[in-house]
């Protein structure tokens, strides 16, 4: 089940709702940045390729930014602390500098999320990093006030509905 949750996020980003956000065109599993291991890292471009008119419009009006999405899946009953989340964000920032990413998202999947961590994420409003926490037991999704909204709307909410239908 764990593997399939990651695969469904990967597919949704590359082939599903993720296309409304960007052209996510490459994905890595078990991607290590310093001492943090992200279970999934998908990167892409904001500017889509398209065909004829959409290609021209995209070229004229969309900036050529690179962006990425990191997914961390905590083990069963493992709770991610605020300190761990900050470490992940630092690792992401480092990778963003290296890959020249303009924006990126962090999706954390875990069984139960601490209430203080939820409040912490709800208060975040960074212009470059969007954070989303998904609580597997309740199916609740918490996201930041800025970039997280678009990822929640286009990708995660659809997936959560799918997972609920399948009874995950």
């Amino acid at each position: 089940m764990e593997g399939s949750a990651l695969t469904s996020i990967e597919k949704e980003l590359m082939l599903g709702g993720g296309r409304w956000i960007a052209e996510f065109n490459e994905s890595f599993r078990d991607f290590r940045v310093r001492d943090v291991k992200f279970h999934l890292y998908v990167r892409g471009k904001l500017r889509g390729k398209g065909l004829f008119i959409s290609r021209i419009i995209s070229y004229l009006f969309t900036p050529d930014y690179l962006l990425g999405c990191f997914v961390y899946e905590a083990g069963e009953n493992v709770k991610v602390s605020r300190k761990q989340l900050s470490r992940m964000m630092e690792a992401m920032s480092e990778r963003m500098r290296k890959d020249e990413l303009r924006f990126s998202w962090l999706i954390v999947l875990q069984d139960k999320v601490h209430e203080p961590l939820k409040n912490f994420v709800r208060r975040i409003s960074r212009p470059d990093i969007g954070i989303l926490l998904y609580e597997r037991t309740s199916g609740e999704l918490v996201h930041d006030r800025n970039l997280g909204i678009v990822m929640a709307k286009r990708v995660m909410n659809k997936l959560i509905k799918k997972w609920r239908r399948r009874g995950k």
Binding site: T7, E10, K11, M14, L15, E23, N25, E26, R29, G50
Partner: protein, 156 residues
């Protein structure tokens, strides 16, 4: 569709019908364009234009001729054969391009998608240098195959 197994080696070689139809239409249109510009004596041209049976016969003959020629072009330019085992791989595209290597020479693998939604597997030697295997052309599931490649790399 062809899939065979040598001793411990998996060989996948599947027909790409889109590319095959491209090759077929290419040959057919070339034959028709040539026919259009061939100076045919007026009497025969009239016969061709006014007797639908003969025109149909020419089109059928061109179509029949296009099949072997289209197949030959397809095999030469586009047909892909991928063979691999736990240690090494070989990807042939047409007659001219061959990508071969050993899994252990690479340390990272990713699934990549082109803007035409064709999937491939990228094998990285380092952050910049990589080899791309267009496994979408042999109709392998890229996500499952990536996991298989990771296992091969770990075994070294």
């Amino acid at each position: 569709m062809e899939e065979e197994r040598e001793i411990g080696k998996r060989v996948i070689s599947r027909v790409q019908y889109t590319k095959l139809s491209h090759a077929f239409s290419l040959v057919l249109s070339t034959i028709l364009v040539i026919l259009l510009f061939v100076p045919i004596p007026m009497i025969h041209l009239r016969a061709l234009l006014y007797e639908r049976g003969r025109l149909l016969l020419v089109l059928i003959a061109a179509g029949i001729l296009s099949f072997p020629a289209g197949w030959w072009i397809y095999k030469r330019v586009w047909h892909c054969t991928f063979s691999y085992d736990e240690k090494s791989f070989e990807f042939r595209i047409g007659k001219s391009k061959v990508i071969r290597g050993r899994w252990k020479d690479y340390n990272k693998v990713s699934v990549a998608r082109s803007s035409w939604y064709e999937f491939s597997i990228r094998l990285y030697k380092n952050d910049k240098e990589y080899v791309e295997l267009p496994i979408g052309r042999v109709k392998l599931d890229p996500f499952e195959f990536r996991d298989e490649v990771e296992r091969f790399m770990k075994r070294g």
